[in-house]
């Protein structure tokens, strides 16, 4: 109906529910005493009751189980009496031939309930009307009584179809066997124990990708209703769904077959067993979470196919459009995403089950289109259209104010903050001119950064007021990011000029990060009311099935019987989204420490993220954590280890964050090529990076800087100083324009290096000093140490009379370099130290040779690990000279030989056997 949305679906009588009612009649026949007929003991009887409880709890699968499935489950439960149970079930079903039979049946069903006035005799089995089972029966009876005659006819028809289907698929030789269940258990446990990652790593074949997909899917199968699994997969649905899991894992080649018979599964009767709106929504919510988390690992077409079928089965369910939107979003299909997004919000008017708490305002009936704008803005953000995104989000701000939707406003502001902090927008005037900012209204123009700060503060406050905990936490994260990269200055308009403290404040970053992590404790304190009920009860049944089988086994072997009641499913009290947020706070911590120059803490935080949050955080986040670890390996342990780690990571994140892994690979290759003096390869890799950074898929400033930084370094290595300086200069201009201060420091340092290498030490000095001051104000300790080192080198280059000054500079930087620096930095420092001593006229080698030799040895060891030929040659050269002076001829020859080797390798980089060259 136009403008009116259907309420969540009502409880409907379906054939499966009729079956459950039949079983309930067997469970609690009226007038029976103690243990009713087919059951051997009270325990046996109770177990059956528990099974029924599970069935009634799980009535919210999207599809109800078919009769086959039910029979199969009964076989597992009933033990020796399963024949009787199955027989009476099928008999009773087949006897329902006319509407009158149905009327009588439900009349009988009412009999299993004990009325309030019934005096209970001892041991009599009567269902309490207020118990779970009793409620179920009452709801069934009520729903039946509400049916019109047409409804009864429909029910009768569908029962006929339900029963006929089971008959036709149940082949005669598939008689119930006792070993069947144990067989089943075996496959089940095999499936349970299978370590998916090992499985994937073992068989790196061509089918890798397909398998990976299969592996990625399994976790979602665990929660997915069985019938849907049948939809998703291209295999025919066998009688035993569990067996199928085993099959699939054993022979992943099923995926090679084209989906020929999927459409056949969609028989016209399928719709009759569809579950209520509300329950399907639970499932879709789950899928949406999975999609957002795993992004590209979903196959576009498979998922699309499933969604399309779901849509034809449940046309009223608009959320399907949203999932289609998500699906196309994560597969970078702009047009489809746009279409589906508009489609979803046109249909649902934003009212349908969004995560927001509906406010009690009057405007509720008018739709929540501001949410549509918010989503559209996020979409543009995702596709890298910052201007459009800003435009849409501004509109969202306006509309949410009109509708006084504070929650949406808070989210929108947070989104704008994210946008401003992540994409480089050099100038917001004109775009944000009419937007939210109390200051622009006074007429003061602010820089982007100031505007961002004001927005951030406002958004944080708003979120705090509205008690949107997750938003508060993520706002804290953005705030931390802001504090990390921005010097805090008082805003012009606020009060008297405060004392200018031109430094970033790590304390603030730390504080924000901590505040964001507090979220987890707040959620842990709450109960698990957040989880979607649909997901919960499916998980519940799955959990219950497992112990049931176990217990059957133990019962038959006469062993001890564990209480069946201990298997209450207890989902994690903290929702996954919260955990994800906490995980990303760890990732941010790692980044922060990386920037502040504490490699060990950065590594520690990355390890925490990679080990504690891989299940909850998105794959791209996990990939980022791995990436950081690998980078650390490369810097501190050399390339061999880094590349072997990279290989593992690349397999793990095969399809997901390909670009990120690819980027890392290119970075490592480039670094290595530069060290080995393989300039051609370096240039090649550099070009590749340039392609990645091109603006075809939106602009990534980080990537862009990275690409031109590397370009400059390649040029420097090729001794094309003026070109290198030009590239570095333009890069500096860009970073300055977009306010990328941290990058500025790096670029300045590079410029100093260029001048140093070109022999123009005097020109290099101001750059080095500028970089140093940047590092100081942003607390970039490691970079500062490295800048100090360069400064020392520059002084040394000015002449031997500056050797003392250089030495003292190095000594000042040594604690940082030795504690946190990588191989290259350390080696460089050692060499410079030795050079300082050697060029100091007051120093005598004969008196204390070890003062020079020790650092040189250290340096050459580390450089060999790094395969840095140029510096290694220098180190050996110096060593050889020292030995020569000392008269240790043998040692001298050895050093000279090493020197020669390195020089040769440097001159002919192609001749060398390169095991990693095929990586490229």
């Amino acid at each position: 109906m136009a403008g009116i949305l259907k309420p969540p679906g009502a409880f409907q009588v379906t054939p499966h529910k009729v079956s459950v009612c039949i079983l309930l009649q067997i469970y609690a026949p009226p007038g029976q005493v103690a243990v009713p007929f087919p059951f051997s003991s009270a325990d046996h009887h109770n177990r059956f009751g528990l099974f029924l409880l599970a069935l009634t709890k799980s009535f919210d699968d999207i599809f109800e189980p078919k009769l086959d499935d039910l029979i199969h489950q009964l076989r597992g439960i009933g033990g020796l009496v399963n024949y009787f149970l199955i027989d009476s079930l099928t008999n009773r079903l087949s006897s329902l031939l006319s509407p009158d039979d149905l009327f009588n049946f439900f009349n009988d069903t009412r009999g299993v309930l004990g009325g309030p006035d019934v005096i209970l005799e001892a041991d009599q089995v009567v269902l309490d009307p207020n118990s779970n089972l009793g409620m179920f029966v009452r709801r069934c009876v009520l729903a039946f009584n509400l049916l019109t005659f047409e409804g009864v006819c429909h029910l009768l028809n569908s029962i006929g179809a339900y029963y006929k289907e089971a008959l036709s698929s149940c082949s005669p030789n598939e008689a119930p066997q006792l070993d069947d269940s144990s067989n089943d258990l075996e496959t089940l446990s095999e499936y349970e124990n299978m370590d998916l990652e090992n499985f994937v790593f073992e068989k790196v074949t061509e089918e890798m990708e397909a398998r990976q997909r299969a592996g990625g899917r399994v976790s979602f199968h665990l929660h997915a209703p069985k019938a849907l699994v049948g939809l998703v997969e291209d295999i025919e649905v066998p009688a035993d769904p569990k067996l199928k899991y085993g099959d699939k894992l054993r022979e992943g080649c099923h995926y090679a077959h084209p989906p020929s018979n999927t459409l056949r599964d969609l028989d016209p009767n399928g719709g009759l067993f569809l579950r209520t709106n509300w329950q399907v929504q639970g499932f879709l919510q789950e899928q949406a979470d999975a999609l957002e988390k795993q992004g590209g690992s979903f196959s576009l077409n498979d998922f699309e196919l499933m969604l399309r079928q779901l849509q034809s089965l449940a046309p009223e369910l608009h959320r399907v459009h949203f999932l289609r939107y998500l699906n196309s979003l994560y597969h970078d299909d702009y047009f489809a995403a746009l279409e589906n997004l508009h489609c979803y919000f046109d249909y649902s008017a934003g009212i349908e089950g969004f995560d927001f708490v509906p406010p009690a305002s009057v405007s509720d009936t008018l739709g929540r289109f501001e949410i549509a704008l918010l989503c559209l803005g996020m979409m543009h953000f995702h596709f890298g259209h910052p201007k459009q995104a800003l435009e849409v989000l501004t509109e969202a701000v306006n509309v949410s104010r009109q509708q006084s939707n504070e929650t949406c406003l808070a989210y929108t502001l947070a989104a704008i903050c994210n946008l401003l902090s992540e994409t480089g927008i050099s100038c917001t005037t004109g775009i944000l001119g009419s937007s939210y900012s109390p200051l622009t209204r006074i007429g003061i123009s602010l820089s982007v950064q100031q505007q961002l700060f004001v927005l951030l503060r406002g958004s944080l406050k708003r979120a705090d007021n509205l008690k949107l905990k997750r938003l508060v936490a993520s706002n804290h994260l953005v705030m931390a990011k802001f504090d990390l990269t921005h010097v805090q200055r008082p805003l012009v308009s606020f009060g008297p000029k405060a004392s200018m403290k031109l430094k970033t404040s790590p304390v603030n970053v730390c504080k924000e990060l901590r505040l964001s992590s507090q979220l987890i404790s707040e959620f842990a304190a709450e109960t698990s009311s957040m989880t979607t009920d649909g997901a919960f009860s499916t998980a519940w049944l799955k959990n219950l099935e497992k112990p049931m089988d176990l217990q059957v086994l133990s019962h038959e072997s006469g062993g001890s019987r564990p209480s069946a009641f201990q298997f209450c499913a207890e989902p994690s009290p903290v929702p996954a989204s919260v955990l994800q947020l906490v995980g990303s706070s760890y990732l941010l911590r790692a980044t922060a420490w990386e920037t502040y120059g504490s490699t060990s803490l950065a590594r520690f935080n990355a390890v925490v993220h990679a080990t504690c949050f891989p299940d909850v955080s998105s794959t791209s986040d996990t990939a980022l954590a791995y990436l950081k670890l690998i980078q650390h390996l490369a810097v501190s342990r050399g390339y061999k280890e880094a590349f072997s780690a990279l290989k593992i990571a690349a397999e793990k994140f095969l399809s997901v964050s390909k670009s990120r892994i690819l980027l890392l690979k290119l970075q490592l290759l480039h670094e290595r090529a530069l060290h080995r003096g393989h300039l051609k390869l370096a240039q090649q890799v550099c070009d590749e990076l340039g392609v990645l950074a091109s603006s075809v898929t939106g602009v990534d400033m980080e990537l862009k800087t990275e690409a031109s930084l590397r370009n400059a370094r390649t040029l420097l290595a090729a001794n094309q100083f003026s070109e290198a300086a030009a590239v570095a200069h333009s890069l500096f201009c860009m970073c300055y324009k977009f306010n990328m201060q941290v990058e500025n420091a790096t670029v300045l340092l590079l410029l100093a290096e260029i001048h140093k290498k070109s022999g123009n030490a005097v020109l290099g000095l101001p750059y080095a000093l500028a970089s140093l001051s940047f590092c100081q104000s942003f607390n970039l300790d490691l970079l500062k140490a490295s800048a100090t080192l360069t400064l020392a080198e520059l002084w040394l280059a000015l002449g031997s009379n500056h050797a003392k000054r250089a030495l003292s500079l190095i000594y000042g930087a040594f604690p940082m370099i030795l504690g946190q620096g990588g191989l290259e930095l350390r080696a460089r420092a050692y060499i410079v130290e030795a050079k300082c001593y050697l060029s100091d006229p007051s120093f005598s080698v004969y008196e204390s040779p070890d003062v020079v030799l020790d650092p040189l040895r250290q340096a050459s060891d580390e450089l060999q690990l790094l395969e840095y030929h140029e510096l290694a040659a220098e180190a050996f050269y110096l060593t050889a000279i020292v030995f020569d002076k000392l008269g240790r001829l043998e040692d001298r020859e050895e050093a000279a030989a090493s020197f020669k080797n390195h020089i040769l390798a440097l001159e002919n980089p192609q001749d060398e056997e390169d095991p990693l060259i095929d990586m490229f």
């Binding site: 109906m1 136009a2 403008g3 009116i4 259907k6 019109t148 047409e150 409804g151 429909h154 016209p268 719709g271 034809s312 089965l313 449940a314 046309p315 009223e316 746009l338 508009h342 489609c343 046109d346 249909y347 008017a349 009936t365 008018l366 739709g367 289109f369 549509a372 704008l373 559209l376 459009q388 435009e391 849409v392 501004t394 509109e395 306006n398 509309v399 009109q402 009419s434």
Partner: protein, 577 residues
């Protein structure tokens, strides 16, 4: 024998055969064409003239255009031999079944024919089954779901009918009617490609079944598909092509086909109505009104296509004529979706939007795929400021026909009303994509760009330019272009557009505030440019107006005169002698 006599003979046989197979709609259509064939003046009988007298005026109107359409007459058509019936004498069971069918007892009819083997019997049995399934489907729709909700209910007989007919087709024992039914079933099962092939086979072997052509038409969604069909060059194909062109919005092509057909079937109400439809799409409302008046005179109890007539009356705001029409169709058949739609239109014109919605709802209850009712209901909701409901209604229209530009436009309007101009742009873009030659759409989009929130003037100007290029009737575009250019200080462009606007207004003899504004701007401009003569011309034109305009024009003119005589005149003014 004469060509027209040939048509007549073919149509007469076809009507008999179609009626025999209970394809009543097709036989009705053929009947209309049969009496629509123009008689040779030499041998018309008084009995025929009775029917033909009424449409004389419309004939006169179309005579002029007939000259253009004659060239097609050179085409020679293939003649398809009239089908011979395999059973000369109908079986008893067949007669019984047909009676049941006529009483709408479809299952009973099918049952009566259960063991009959003739092609005709087989067809009737399958067709009866199909209709029984359709009937049941409709009922289930009502039982299970709200009548306006979507649903997944399907005709349950489709599977068995398809199985049976496909075996017949493989054996080669299927007649054209069987093929038609097979195509219908395939189409409903979503197998469009095969359905198209089968339907082409059907119409090639039996071209007089209009139902089959219609099904084929609904499967031709693009020109490419249409061109890929291999159809025999029968004269029925012309009707088909005219219809398809119209659906594909190739109005000119469609109109020329209809004009040609009108030369032969001069008295066919169907063709008249179709011409009206095309002219309606071309927004020639006066012409359409005339055609419908004639139609109603000849065929006073016609309900088909009358909703379009009501749209025209609505657009021309003739409420009394609309009420008369509404009353007339109401008395004829009140439970036709068209009738409800007409009444809805009437209430809408009267500003009673709630009642209008009520009737549009009823129309949709009668036919849930009634496209224009969804769109019109959306418009009503817009009027009632119930934007979410409007959005919903428009979306339904788009579900039925994704290229319905009115619905896209409506959606854009709804979102613009909600203060989401950027979001609305998406819909306007869609709308102009499907109807690039409608100036109203471009203007709406330009308006969207022009809102304070977006303020994207350059884009707005681009849209206005497009609008100006596609025959903008109200000439909003030119005026806006001139204004925007003036605001941006691009005086030259502004003058260009003001002049152009002025020319148009002169051509169409329109007056109004725009005229005054234009004249003032031009007068001022030429005064600044020291082209006093031209400035004076515009000023004198302004003097024709009364009220403040006249006074302003006077003072302006005085200024011009003074400047013209040079600076000293100022002194003279100031110090009169």
């Amino acid at each position: 024998m004469n060509l027209k006599d040939n048509y007549r003979i073919e149509l007469r046989a076809a009507i008999r055969q179609l009626t025999d197979r209970c394809l009543y709609a097709a036989s009705k259509w053929a009947g209309e064409q049969l009496v629509g064939i123009e008689h040779d003046p030499a041998k018309f009988t008084p009995a025929n003239t009775r029917f033909q007298r009424g449409s004389s005026s419309i004939r006169r109107r179309f005579r002029s255009s007939e000259v253009i359409s004659t060239p097609i007459a050179g085409v020679s058509y293939v003649s398809t031999p009239i089908m011979e019936e395999d059973e000369i004498v109908d079986g008893d069971f067949y007669l019984l079944a047909k009676s049941y069918f006529d009483c709408r007892e479809y299952r009973r009819a099918a049952h009566a024919l259960r063991d009959q083997g003739g092609k005709k019997s087989v067809f009737l049995r399958c067709y009866a089954l199909y209709l029984a399934g359709e009937k049941r489907k409709e009922e289930e729709l009502m039982e299970l779901e709200g009548p306006l909700g979507k649903s997944d209910i399907v005709n349950r007989e489709l599977v068995s009918i398809e199985r049976e007919l496909s075996t017949f087709r493989k054996n080669g024992t299927i007649d054209p009617f069987g093929l038609y039914l097979y195509g219908l079933v395939l189409k409903e099962k979503g197998n469009g490609n095969l359905a198209r092939t089968v339907l082409v086979e059907s119409v090639n072997s039996y071209p007089w079944n209009w139902n089959a052509w219609l099904e084929l038409q609904s499967l031709c969604t693009t020109v490419d598909i249409l061109n890929s069909l291999s159809l025999n060059n029968h004269w029925m194909k012309e009707f088909f092509l005219a219809n398809v062109y119209q659906e594909l919005r190739m109005h000119k092509e469609s109109l020329s086909k209809y004009d040609y057909l009108h030369g032969i079937f001069g008295f066919s109400n169907y063709i008249q109505a179709q011409i009206a439809k095309v002219q309606y799409s071309l927004r020639e409302f006066d012409l359409v009104e005339g055609i419908f008046e004639d139609l109603l005179r000849n065929d006073p109890y016609r309900v088909e296509d009358m909703d379009m007539y009501s749209n025209v009356l609505y657009a021309k705001e003739c409420s009394s004529a609309l009420s008369y029409l509404a009353h007339r169709v109401f008395m004829t058949d009140k439970y036709r979706p068209e009738s409800c739609c007409i009444i809805g239109n009437y209430y809408s014109l009267k500003g009673l939007h709630e009642k209008a919605v009520l009737y549009f709802r009823r129309a949709l209850k009668l036919d849930r795929n009634y496209l224009s009712a969804w769109t019109l209901m959306g418009h009503e909701f817009i009027e009632m400021k119930n934007t979410p409901a409007a959005v919903d209604a428009y979306r339904h229209a788009i579900d039925i026909n994704p290229s319905d530009y009115r619905a896209w436009y409506g959606l854009g309007q709804a979102y613009e009303m909600m203060g989401m101009p950027f979001y609305a742009l998406h819909y306007f873009r869609k709308s102009v994509f499907f109807q690039p030659n409608d100036s109203r759409l471009w203007i709406a989009m330009a308006h969207c760009y022009q809102t304070d929130q977006l303020n994207m003037i350059d884009e707005a100007m681009k849209c206005y330019k497009r609008a100006a290029n596609c025959n903008d009737r109200e000439s909003i575009a030119l005026n806006q272009l001139a204004k925007l250019n003036a605001d941006l200080g691009r005086t030259e462009e502004a003058v260009y557009y003001y002049k152009k606007d002025l020319e148009r207004m002169e051509d169409e003899e329109r007056e109004g505030p725009n005229m005054v504004e234009t004249l003032f701007f031009l007068a001022k401009y030429f005064r600044e440019q020291k082209k006093f003569e031209e400035a004076e011309v515009y000023c004198t034109r302004l003097m024709d107006y009364t009220g403040p305009e006249k006074e302003r024009a006077k003072s302006l003119l005085r200024g011009i005169r003074m400047e013209q005589t040079g600076a000293p005149s100022m002194d003279i003014e100031r110090f009169p002698p």
